[in-house]
Symmetry: C2
DNA sequence: CGTGCGATTGAGTTGGTTCAAGGCCAGTGG
DNA sequence: CCACTGGCCTTGAACCAACTCAATCGCACG
């Protein structure tokens, strides 16, 4: 479908992420290309996984955003984590695990089964899983100890880092398809307050936010301001070399 | 050391938890008994794992409580999760992973290496890991969407459920070695406000709290009040049958 | 008999919520 | 072509849950 000589791991953002997490051999590459053939698509708002239901096989997000969320009895909703292109869902060790949260598509979604036959792919899955956990911990400190403004900045920095792994960040600008009310559910705030906080950030020139995209004007400045550190999970420096 | 005919999985609370998570065979039992020989102890406040440092082999908490915490630049601290007897730390899939958070002993701690040679033990580790993740998600909704009182109740219910797996709960009463300021770091509150919220709970007769122990007066009432659901990770009903 | 840590209390402040309108599209159907 | 609808964003004003600051108390320990 794309240029023949070029491996899919370079042309598809989601695959670039996997290639950044582990060194993929030729066979892994072929398996991914094969998996991409069986991709399916999902409409916004559709559930990709339901809390309490058995988890299907591991699935790779090819494009679009999703959210791992839990709904409380009285209608409150908390989004535990965002799921971005290249992320895996249902990536766990057990035989027949039950989902501990729902996963819902935040926009149009494309996904395919995630093969994990080769050692390289298994490694990529393991690293991806470790990163997922790191993101959960980051989310906990955000909610527990950061102010509204800090939460917002910290989240944007995390998303930037994560999208950078797939090569979806240029000049610190990237997609931002989040509704303010979805954002509120991520950050544990009200939509109204998210709105006001966003305005503050725009007003101070820290971010530019229009038409479903953000640009961070001074990422490293912001990072030191909120004490953000990029999640690292392996000791090798391999991942760093991959982002162009 | 204990009665000869009785397997260690019944006499040691931490082992009872593992036995509750997977059906342990005789060999697993022997391995645990062997591991217990190599137990070591740790003083309160000591770090069991340091953020950014490589993770040692999987370790089992035999007794005492610990906390997985992250410290912010300005001194704020967030405890991501409590680590209780029978819990595993450093229980992950990777070769040489880096710790994404520190683990600090909240009191006197006893621990031993956690063997995972047999299939049964591997299974127990996998289930334990899945539960850990479920607790992280619970922590996120607590911090993001629950009020101070709800957070406190929900946490107490979680701890009760978890300690029950080791048989450390009698009549809904169990150990509660948490300082109010540690509790504040868990719940994302200030110590002062934790104090006031605790008084409220005591005043309303919902909990009795003295001398490092809590008793929940109406756990199921409390559970429905805060929408607490006990984490379940496997579809089999086996785990339920184990708690006496 | 200090000394220090943890729990408690009071009074004032604030970050974030709530409630309630309005505004701004993009899509839809007449 | 325009009116109508439904999401989503924006704004204002009042309110309140939780925070801050600062003392005081109780107690275990040396």
């Amino acid at each position: 479908m794309k240029a023949m000589g070029r491996p899919v791991t370079q042309s598809v953002p989601a695959f670039r992420r996997l290639a950044a997490l582990a060194t993929l051999d030729l066979q892994s590459d072929r398996l991914l290309a094969e998996a991409a053939m069986h991709s399916r698509s999902l409409q916004p708002g559709r559930e990709l996984l339901t809390e309490g239901a058995p988890v299907p096989g591991p699935t790779l997000i090819l494009s679009g955003w999703a959210a791992r969320a839990r709904l409380l009895a009285d209608g409150r909703r908390q989004i535990m984590s965002l799921i971005l292109p290249g992320d895996l869902i249902g990536n766990c060790r057990q035989n027949l695990p039950l989902a501990v949260s729902s996963v819902v598509a935040l926009g149009h979604l494309t996904l395919c089964p995630a093969p994990a036959i080769t050692e390289a792919l298994k490694q990529a899955h393991a690293v991806s899983h470790a990163l997922d956990e790191a993101y959960l911990l980051a989310q906990i400190t955000r909610l527990g100890r950061l102010s509204a403004e800090e939460r917002l900045i910290d989240l944007m920095l995390e998303v930037r880092d994560r999208l950078a792994l797939c090569g979806l960040v240029t000049d610190n600008a990237f997609a931002w398809p989040l509704t303010q009310s979805a954002l509120a559910d991520v950050l544990g705030l009200t939509p109204v307050h998210v709105n006001r906080t966003l305005q503050q950030l725009r007003g101070s020139g820290d971010v530019i936010l229009r038409a479903g995209r953000v640009q961070l004007m001074d990422p490293s400045g912001l990072a030191t301001r909120v004490g953000h550190v990029t999640a690292r999970v392996t000791s090798d420096t391999e991942a760093a070399r991959h982002d162009r």
